[in-house]
Amino acid sequence: MRRFHEWLIFIIMEYKYFIIRCIVMLQMCFSGIFFSINHAFAYQDTLDKIKSSGVITWGFDAEGGAPYVFRDSANPSKHIGFEVELVAAIARELGVKVRYFQNAWDSILLSLQRGDFDIALNGIEITPDREQSVLFTRPYYAYAEQIVVRDSDNRIHRLEDLRGKKVGTLYNTEAKRLLEAMGGIAVNIYSGQVEPFKDLLLNRIDAVFVDLPIAAYYTMPNPQLHMVGDPVGDGYYGIALRKEDASLADELNKIIEKLLRSGELKKIYSRWGLWNVAQEKLFLHEGILKNYAESPPSSSEKAPIVLTKFLPTLLKGALVTIGISILSMMLAVVLGLILTFMRLYGNTWLRMVSTAYIEIYRGTPLLIQLYILYYGLPSIGITLSAFVVAILGLGMNYAAYEAEIYRAGIQAIPKGQTEAALSLGMSGRLTLKRIILPQALRITIPPMTNDFIALFKDSSLISVIAITELTKSYGILAAASMDYFKLGIITALLYFGMSYPLSLYARKLEKKLKSHDRNL
């Protein structure tokens, strides 16, 4: 018995990672099976499912989601926001409990369609484009777009004044479309709502143009910011459902109507400073929805024009990607060489600095490094532009990898080469320059080319800091058209078309080098 016990422990210790992986895979298989049963074989009306299970699953994004839904800073395990209260009221009316489902806002409608949750309610604007893929309930909030500027800035008073300025707005919103339709505005697109206000305070942009609730929430408590001009445009937030869930829509429409008439909605919105006269329009919802149905503005020119319409934007993004990749690689090469010299030929102190740099940069995620450079440095008084951060971030990160390549290259040169050079009376420096480096360079070119390809692909990470490169362009276009598939393939092809020739080149170089070594 004791032996069996020991044997079991041995097996578990030896194969723990394998076992864990098996369990995870099994779990994935099972949930996959249940998922398909749910959605393919045994389709169940969502309303019935909610009622019978007593739970409604709500999809939202709490990341930078104030005042809609966000984490209470006093009690971070708790969600608060006007939409939290709204959903709670709806659930109460349905007689069910709420299950929270956190989902990135950009892909919230895709996840809804996939069946991850029952309703998507998170400041989702009712637009004709979206109505093609999901079903909206009657509106629960009437929003407008609001300009926010720095208090010290008196150049901007209304929408027209934004021309020629740098304006921050959010990914895939009405405000963004409005700005782009106006033209002549340098639009900076953010995926989180805190960041545009941060950049505004840092003078990186001149104004922020976003939905009123967001503008109000961030401006009110901050004396350095203020809202200018009247709210522009009018639109509505609706609850998004899957197309087939008409019965759920009916039920929710009734509940929204009830909450409106009872004054409960007004109470919730007032608590968040969001109630205004515009909300009176919510009572007229049939008229509003019909309005949209009668004048579908852009939907007619939507479907088949993917290439001609989207390619220029993607190509522009690709150009930015190439430019940033090349510049940051140049930085990486120069900095990498300096680090290598410090490490191989410097005194103890320089060696320590270089080693620490390399280990730290290789041991932390590039994404964190970018965030620190972009959003962290300003808090100690260093504010760099997004472009500079992109180059510095990628370049400084890859410098660590280049340094390792150069070190390996230099150390691969036989000691006899140095000794022969020294015995001829050459100085250490001359030996390095004339004998070691020229030989090391040949060895390092193939891995450097591979690194450049990796950097090129990693440059997609800089889409987090308001640079519209290829990946960001894809995200924007895909979110607008809901066509993640075709656009995704095209974007991937663009990346591939640029990186593949390089990797062919690297392979050729490697082969050439190998045949050379054989001759030796």
Partner: protein
């Protein structure tokens, strides 16, 4: 011309030379023989400032080197001393160590141009005459990979001579060569010796050592066990270790 005094050297607390003395006069030809691991290479490398040592000194003419080395080269006065010694004493290695990224001509001219400041045309014409001397005139434009081992070693000799040294150190110059190439390299060394070059050569070629050297030195376990004129050493060795070593070779 070269004087080694009181030399003490250890590798990681393993003493190799305990108290070694050696004087090499100008124009003499010293052959160092001894079993593998006896310290032949190390002794030559010490003389060229490629190896640090703990006690004693090595002087070449008026330059005195006391054995402190930081990663192969020194700064300050020590550095200048080592460089001066290296300029006076050329070295040829067992593994040739030609620079693979340079042509034969460039291998020979690189040091004169960048160390001595000779202009390129002069360095090249000098290199050509050195190549003639080692019988490799036609290989000037080739790269080391395109040469046989014997040819590479002769280029290495020419490369060392290009610095116009007053003495030459050879560390088993023929040990990594195929038998048919050994003669061509030994011929070059012989010619050099006949011109009066001060030479120290570590070798396993006993016949060659007997023919060209003015003095033979038997080294064993870091110790000079016996030395003398070649005829006497080879025909009538005094020490038992020398006898044992030579008997293995004379078979």
């Amino acid at each position: 011309m070269i004087e080694i005094c009181n030399l003490f050297k250890q590798y990681e607390h393993q003493p190799l030379f305990k108290d070694l003395h050696l004087v090499v006069e100008k124009g003499s030809v010293v052959a160092i023989i001894g079993p593998s691991g006896s310290g032949k290479s190390t002794l030559l490398r010490c003389m060229n400032g490629l190896e640090a040592f703990q006690k004693g000194y090595i002087s070449v003419d008026d330059q005195r080197f006391c054995g402190v080395l930081e990663r192969g080269y020194n700064k300050g006065q020590e550095g200048i001393t080592i460089k001066n010694i290296r300029r006076k004493v050329g070295m040829v290695f067992q593994q040739f160590n030609l620079f693979p990224h340079m042509s034969v001509l460039h291998n020979i001219t690189v040091a004169p141009i960048f160390v001595l400041g000779v202009d390129q045309a002069e360095a090249e014409s000098n290199a050509i005459s050195l190549l003639r001397k080692v019988h490799l005139m036609e290989k000037a434009g080739k790269y080391p990979v395109q040469l046989s081992g014997g040819e590479q070693q002769r280029v290495a000799v020419a490369r060392a001579l290009a610095m116009k040294p007053e003495a030459m150190l050879f560390d088993e110059p023929t040990s990594s060569l195929d038998p048919e190439m050994i003669e061509e390299v030994l011929l070059v060394v012989k010619e050099l010796v006949s011109e009066g070059m001060t030479t120290i050569i570590a070798t396993h070629e006993m016949g060659f050592a007997r023919d060209v050297s003015t003095r033979v030195l038997f080294l064993d376990k870091g110790e000079i066990v016996e030395q003398g004129k070649p005829q006497e050493m080879f025909s009538n060795p005094q020490n038992d270790r020398t006898k044992a070593f030579l008997s293995r070779f004379m078979k």
